[in-house]
């Protein structure tokens, strides 16, 4: 399905691109795999042993850290996609960048929701400036800024360029913020154990399945959102060319 409405120059170079088409072909099998993995994951979480010291709340371990894949990978893809978009002038990479930002911010938000729930359930406080949660919060603000920048700019070629630049800034901030929090950061009252209870017996499998399932979920949603972006731009192009 190629579209090339007359005369819009490079802007309408084929949507979807070859890369997008290839990614789309993976989506359906990924969906089936995701369903199967999800079922195995759910079963393994439910049958996992209950931690003697922390109680059942400990099982959040199987969902909170795995969300990190989406949260961090999301912005890495956005940043790198933006850079490649600038370098190669490929619109499909810009579409990937915006898709990755949206899916990534959802995973990041979920981390910020499940993290405090875990903290509240385990330590009794909702927020404690724990090192990792703080870095995630900072990342969340970068996501938000990126998405606000895109939405306030409307849709024009300039938007994509600006967003790509900010994407680089955000990308650089990921290691920088880690560095900051490590050196100066944690005013946290609680040790790192919030995230890494040592894995006892029977915890390895649900943890592994959790990581696999949520990582796969991220990529699945990413491809889906990428497709939607392509369709939206096609739609925009058709309406604006007066079809």
């Amino acid at each position: 399905m190629n579209s090339n409405p007359e005369g819009h120059g490079n802007a309408q170079a084929s949507i979807p691109s070859r890369l997008e088409s290839r990614a789309s072909r993976w989506r359906r099998p990924m969906g089936y795999l995701l369903a199967a993995l999800g079922a195995a994951y759910a079963w393994s979480v439910m049958s996992a042993p209950i931690d003697s010291t922390q109680g059942i709340i400990q099982k959040i371990l199987y969902i909170h850290p795995p969300l990190a894949y989406g949260a961090y990978l999301g912005f890495v893809i956005t940043g790198v996609g933006g850079v490649l978009f600038l370098a190669r002038q490929r619109e499909d990479l810009d579409r990937l960048a915006v898709a990755s930002a949206e899916v990534g911010v959802i995973f990041c938000t979920l981390m910020l929701v499940t993290g405090p729930i875990w903290a509240r359930g385990t330590w009794g406080v909702w927020w404690s400036w724990d090192a990792r949660l703080t870095v995630t919060l900072l990342l969340w603000f970068v996501y938000l800024a990126y998405l606000l920048l895109r939405s306030f700019s409307g849709s024009s070629p300039r938007t994509a360029r600006f967003a790509a630049i900010y994407g680089v800034v955000g990308l650089v901030l990921i290691p920088l913020n880690y560095y900051v929090i490590e050196i100066f950061g944690s005013r946290s009252m609680h040790p790192e154990n919030l995230e890494r209870g040592s894995l006892g017996d029977g915890m390895g499998l649900p943890f592994l399945l959790g990581n696999l399932t949520l990582a796969l979920a991220f990529f699945y949603l990413l491809i889906l959102r990428w497709e939607v972006e392509a369709q939206r731009r096609l739609d925009d192009a058709s309406t604006s060319s007066g079809a």
Binding site: M1, S3, I60, I63, L110, I117, W118, L221, D235, A243
Partner: protein
Amino acid sequence: MSYLLAAYGITLIALVSYGLALSRERARLQAQNSPRGDESGS
């Protein structure tokens, strides 16, 4: 226990409904974009 359910529940609902919303929009836009004269259906 309720905290646990909240965490898993919110995550599940958020991701699944997001995925469904995306699917619906994709289907709608694809239907909208295809019958137009200037591209071939797939």
